[in-house]
Subunit: 232 residues, 2 copies
């Protein structure tokens, strides 16, 4: 792995000189000091994309939520917990040529966060958790102005129903260049699993890829990115 890291740093791959930021994993939104809201993202797909871009010679920063998979070698890793921390980490590293938002960022954070652990009291009704929208990292990056707008912004759509409809809507609303749509319904095993079936949407239409390993998805996506940047 150390050798692989050195190789990728010395490599003259097609993405040499290209600065990439990849977000990966879930975010955690604190309810109180011990409890939080999270999601089932394992970080496998995002981490694989960061590695694949680095393997093509890109200078990669991986901004990762809490995951239990190892840090990839040959690139910079920034660990964050919440969506706000993830946005700040991404924003502070702009400009970049390409930003891939593969993290499963919480749409909402907790509005009534407690500073001490909420206690269950006999007879008291259970508390309710009030939510408030998180900043939208994909939209913020896509709508950045001037030199802060990356050449290419790639978002992910993880859906359990109406996959293509939600993905097309996301592409239009967020202002990103591509959406990689994948079905994360329970039966598919995508969240946490090693395989993925994705559809790449852009202004030209949809490209549907067959089911393949997440590392293979990452390699194909990195090659598509190199091509889009005129580097392959």
């Amino acid at each position: 792995e150390i050798l692989a890291a050195i190789e990728s740093q010395l490599s003259d791959g097609p993405l040499k000189g290209v600065k990439a930021i990849v977000t990966s994993g879930p975010t955690r939104e604190a309810i109180d000091p011990v409890r939080f809201i999270a999601n089932r993202s394992s970080g496998k797909q995002g981490h694989a994309i960061a590695s694949a871009l680095a393997a093509l010679g890109a200078e990669v920063t991986l901004v990762s939520g809490p995951v239990s998979i190892p840090d990839p070698t040959g690139l910079a890793v920034v660990k964050v917990e919440s969506a706000v921390q993830m946005l700040n980490a991404v924003r502070s590293r702009l400009p970049a040529h390409v930003v891939v938002c593969a993290a499963a960022v919480a749409d909402w954070t907790v509005a009534n966060r407690a500073t001490e652990k909420r206690k269950k009291k006999v007879g008291d009704p259970p508390p309710t958790i009030e939510l408030t929208p998180n900043p939208d990292i994909l939209m913020t990056v896509s709508k950045a102005e001037g030199p802060l707008r990356p050449t290419l912004v790639v978002g992910f759509a993880a859906e359990t129903e109406k996959l293509m409809e939600h993905a097309a809507d996301k592409l239009a609303r967020k202002g990103c260049d591509w959406i990689v749509a994948n079905d994360v319904s329970e039966g598919t095993g995508t969240f946490g699993g090693d395989a993925n079936t994705v559809h790449v949407l852009d202004s030209d239409g949809v490209e549907s890829w067959p089911a393949m390993g997440k590392e293979e998805v990452a390699r194909k996506l990195a090659e598509r990115i190199a091509k889009a940047l005129g580097k392959a």
Copy 2:
């Protein structure tokens, strides 16, 4: 590790013939197919207790929520997600001589769980998460009747304030025999960390142990359990 496992299975330790159930780790309560509520428990303390009991010759079942640490060897591991699943796993394995409830079980589960991923819609107010109490595993085991009541039931209290007050209250309310109280405030590094400072409360009073590694806490606790069962 394989050797250690064989050794413990062949061992004639003081807890030979003693059946133990240990719960460990957090639980996850689903909000929808991809989001859940969890907590910062790493499972390190509970897993170490299970291993320490097995090392003294006990026949141990570890009932564990989702953790990223490896399964201990030389004992049976049952993986669960929610508090209800954890309770069912424990209950189906009774009777036992000793039950140690070290898991950080969610006090509440989600009352308005969604079967499809909740969508963020522009203009819509954010959803609220309504909670409802989970079954109380420690109390259920402690108040089990007849042969289903273990000889010794040990609970944990993880608090961020008024540690001893909350722990004494828990001992009285739950009907368990011991409470192991530990401070999990952010500064202490207990949740996720390798060290712990605990206080063991029983009907005789409080025994405060100095800060030590979680494996050392586990060894001391296993020895105390052997003594309480008249086995050491």
